[in-house]
């Protein structure tokens, strides 16, 4: 079997498994976590676009998630807009916001870009917490609605329950992954990789780097905005807590653990950051320490992440079997 058909088969199995999952899983808690992980895929794919592909570590992803979440929530709760509409508006609004803040931050490189985006995250968090007239502050906003049912011929698709929402976020995760795949395979994607490898050289070849960097930044922010909106309408209650800096660090962790710069890495990473803390709950007090330790050890010993590590191991295994034949 060739590698290509092998891969296609793998993707096919994955799709069928993803579609059947709610029928097989009877534990609501597990489905809940899976939905969160799928939302995290949207976030992590965005993070990967700027961090893994372009090589600029942005620490504002949770902040952008908050912008999207509050945008969608406020429009649907206060103005009574349809949730389907606000789910579309939220990423666009976040993208516009990202254009505004991306321009000054992309004037600096490397660590300094990371720190400036971190400052953005702190500003967004403080504003969400303090501007109580609009956001409700720490007390938050309750009763965030789920998307309305869709009647399609005779079939009614309901998104009020977990199963319906599962398919919605599955579609969103697939969309985010496909979008990143398309970008990565396009000319733009190749330029982004070139910027990561050697920005000075890319500029010398006539690439206007800041445009492409801004593009990557804005797309990643709008994916985060979408993730935020999906999160808000799923949980049904919104306060600034999930949008602090630590959540942005989790997004970075997801990309690093999975394998930065790959398309499957963020998917693996998203599941890891959602499920790992649940299993580490046994050691609640040591969770932060363990988490940090995982990050440090992972960076030192497997800097390229889980996915490249396993595919490398797979290749070696195949080579080994091939030799014996």
């Amino acid at each position: 079997m060739t590698t290509r058909s092998f891969r296609l088969l793998g993707i096919g199995v994955l799709i069928v498994a993803a579609l059947c999952l709610p029928l097989l899983v009877t534990v609501p808690y597990f489905l809940q976590l899976t939905i969160l992980a799928l939302i995290w895929i949207v976030l992590a794919q965005g993070q990967n676009l700027i961090q893994g592909i372009t090589g600029y570590v942005s620490i504002a992803q949770a902040g952008f998630m908050g912008v999207g979440a509050y945008c969608s929530t406020l429009l649907s709760v206060k103005l009574g807009w349809s949730v389907w509409l606000t789910l579309g508006v939220a990423p666009i609004f976040t993208a516009l916001f990202a254009v505004l803040v991306g321009y000054p931050s992309l004037r600096v490189k490397g660590h300094y870009f990371a720190i400036v985006t971190l400052a953005y995250n702190m500003v967004i968090y403080i504003v969400l917490l303090t501007f109580t007239a609009l956001t409700g502050g720490e007390a938050g906003i309750g009763g965030v609605p789920r998307p309305a049912d869709i009647a399609f011929g005779g079939i009614v698709l309901s998104f009020g329950g977990r199963t319906g929402y599962y398919y919605l976020v599955l579609a969103a995760a697939a969309f985010a992954t496909l979008l990143c795949a398309l970008i990565l395979r396009s000319r733009v994607g190749r330029i982004l990789v070139a910027i990561r490898q050697n920005e000075t050289l890319a500029e010398a070849m006539g690439v206007s780097a800041w445009r492409y960097k801004l593009f990557a930044f804005v797309v990643s922010a709008s994916l985060a905005g979408l993730a935020g909106a999906l999160y808000a309408h799923f949980i049904g209650f919104l306060n600034p807590d999930p949008f602090g800096v630590d959540q942005s660090l989790n997004a970075i962790l997801a990309v690093i653990l999975g394998g930065s710069g790959t398309l499957t890495g963020p998917i693996v990473g998203a599941f890891a950051v959602v499920f790992l803390p649940e299993y580490l709950r046994v050691a609640e007090t040591y969770r932060l320490v363990m988490y940090g330790l995982v990050l440090v050890v992972a960076t030192i010993f497997m800097p390229r992440g889980l996915v490249p590590l396993t595919s490398q191991a797979g290749q070696r295994l195949r080579a080994l079997i091939g030799n014996q034949r």
Partner: protein, 286 residues
């Protein structure tokens, strides 16, 4: 109005000198080793907690307790350099930064386990208050400014006058050349990390005396420290001093005249505004 202005600027000077101390530690590590040591703020907080512990449990007065904590901080810095940063020295800089984030989580977690989640204020004997023409001058603030001045002087002397300082500068200028000239890079980075962490601990102790220490304060301090670096110019010691004072004063003016809830927002806006017009920082070179 004028009195209020002077008052706020004076308050800003005190908190600005703490920012300067934090930024000084960061700028030395960044300028010489090229590492954005984000865990610096959390190290500073550990130092603050230790100082608190030494004053409460051992009954030491503030400055000896701080000196002891600085020693502990220097050892912690050595360990961090040896165990976490040295293995990724030749990897892309992004890896060192991610390690820094992991270290931040670890140290914050350890602080939480060791010292609890309660807010802590270090008691000092410097409770005097002078009134100069309507401006209230607290003795503690003066002590903070003075301590910062002394520490800056010590660092400046260390870097510009001693043999170790010379090798530090050589590594900062050109690492391969320094290695070829027989400079021990491992030793230099160990010295730099211990000095930087000791400075951070001093800043943490001063924050603990001036304001309060609590979980999460360290991350905020690290961000402020980097904001100062960006304001002042990368790897520049005078830049760290100017940047720290600018940030402290603008924050304090914002708190006094606009809104105390948004003071951090305004401080960051100042930073972003400077970036728009001088991406190399106030005292940085193009």
């Amino acid at each position: 109005m004028f009195v209020e202005l002077v008052q706020q600027m004076l308050n800003g000077l005190a908190i600005g000198s703490v920012y300067t101390l934090i930024a000084l530690g960061l700028t030395v590590v960044f300028g010489i080793l090229g590492i954005a040591h984000f865990a610096h703020g959390s190290v500073a907080m550990s130092g603050g907690y230790l100082t608190f512990l030494f004053t409460e449990r051992l009954g030491l007065s503030f400055f000896p307790a701080m000196a002891l904590a600085m020693l502990a901080g220097a050892i912690l810095g050595l360990l961090i350099e040896r165990l976490a940063y040295r293995p990724v020295r030749d990897a892309p800089h992004i890896n060192a930064f991610i390690i820094a984030l992991g270290l931040t989580m670890m140290i914050e977690g350890i602080n939480l386990i060791a010292f609890g989640a309660d807010q802590v204020v270090i008691q000092t004997p410097y409770r005097g208050v002078f009134n100069v023409g309507g401006v209230v001058v607290a003795e503690l603030r003066l002590q903070v400014i003075l301590t910062t001045g002394v520490l800056i002087g010590v660092i400046a002397y260390l870097i510009s006058r001693t043999k170790t300082g010379k090798s530090i500068r050589a590594v900062a200028q050109n690492r391969p050349a320094a290695v070829l000239m027989g400079v021990n890079v491992n030793q230099v980075s160990a010295v730099v990390f211990s000095v930087s962490s000791a400075l951070g601990v001093a800043a943490g102790a001063l924050v603990g005396a001036l304001l309060a220490i609590a979980p999460g304060v360290g991350e905020g301090l690290a961000v402020k420290g980097f904001a100062v670096l960006i304001l002042g110019g990368l790897g520049s010691i005078p830049g760290a001093i100017v940047g720290g004072l600018v940030l402290g004063i603008s924050e304090s003016l914002a708190a006094g005249f606009i809104s105390s809830a948004y003071k951090d927002v305004i401080a960051f806006l100042v930073m972003i505004f400077v970036l728009l017009f001088r991406p190399e920082g106030l005292l940085g070179k193009r």
